[in-house]
Symmetry: C2
Subunit: 255 residues, 2 copies
Amino acid sequence: MIDITSNSNQQIKDWKKLHTRKERKKTSTYLVEGFHLVEEALNYKKDAIQKVIVREDILTNDAYLTMNIDAKKVITVSEQVAAELSETETNQGIFAVVAIDKIDFPETVNGPFLLLDAVQDPGNVGTMIRTADAAGFQGVILGKGTVDLYNSKTLRSAQGSHFHIEVYEGDLSEFISRLKDQDVKIYGTALNEDAESYKNINEDKTFALMVGNEGSGISNDMMALVDQNIYIPMKGQSESLNVAIAASIIMFHLN
Amino acid sequence: MIDITSNSNQQIKDWKKLHTRKERKKTSTYLVEGFHLVEEALNYKKDAIQKVIVREDILTNDAYLTMNIDAKKVITVSEQVAAELSETETNQGIFAVVAIDKIDFPETVNGPFLLLDAVQDPGNVGTMIRTADAAGFQGVILGKGTVDLYNSKTLRSAQGSHFHIEVYEGDLSEFISRLKDQDVKIYGTALNEDAESYKNINEDKTFALMVGNEGSGISNDMMALVDQNIYIPMKGQSESLNVAIAASIIMFHLN
């Protein structure tokens, strides 16, 4: 027997609302979709998983059967309901409702941080979280005006890396003052007369790298908090790099 | 007086068809949209521009007036027609119909090439063309199964870089044999036992870097043509990098 077969079921309506930032704030939960993200949640934040929503045909699927999910948390749904919940065209038939982690900023910083000032594209933000993870960064801080971590497109691009590294959201200036209290140098990515080529920068393990909005770069308020700007020398006729590309080249060079 | 005010105008129907690969092949033309791309076309491929389509309210716009467009090529359209032609939610009111460049592969290779084997996401392909331009690459070759260069999303992500560097489409194995005839080494990006960290590779100015499909990587057929595989050592718990990120890190390191 399938638990929920109707899109008008109140529980489905509530979960569907998790696609909005407002509802995620209100309930302190978010929705992940697809085998990879549900598996990553199981591996890294098992206790935070409140429900696993499974499309009926998936129950006999090998990938599902090997997943070690607490049966008490499973809710089965019809194909129609899965399509209603999904933000993708062809859904994989598996979702999880996960509690939002409230983590405190660490008393001792022991790795590099990436700071995002008003980065608006969820694909860029997710990709930078994924790359910061691969580059061994301690965390990523999403400043004001930056797209929400729990946006489904951000989560999809991050590929589960938000389960591996610390991701904070809030006023960058507050985080920067805590980083500076621990003598962490703040690098910006603006091409001004004092900017250094990234190739000339050698860093130890604690530093912070700030990148800005896709169109306008780092805001003046945040620029005032930067200790040193770095740039990527370009050879062709291209005027700029995509923000996630630029951040990735510098993250892998510095770390 | 506005030239075209109706979506059922045959010319508009024909231009709208340029959103399909089939029509682009048939007519050997494609459509670019937005101020930046039209400006890049004017700067780099002026003769290839067949028409510039302008929304009526743009005619008095400063950005438009400074653009130095041949008046004989301008067709003005209504707001409704511009919305019909556009692939974006809020269009900038300017488009150009551009002839597809038929370029021959160079007799003498004098810079690095990026080879894409079945890369499917237009954002990834466009971003790699943009980054190859910034990294000073001579060209990018889009192998079979790779998304079309003239897809509107590819063009948007490439930001006009396809006007700056050579972009070829076709069978990678044919291009590779021409590269090998000139002693150009082919690097792949697969993690096998002979793979070297990209940090240990120092290249001269002619080499080729191949990246593969987002899900399955480089195909077996293409892998057989690779001289040396390279990989990016990762520190965190992330299992992989986005293909455009990985390509960019290596392109900027090697060149």
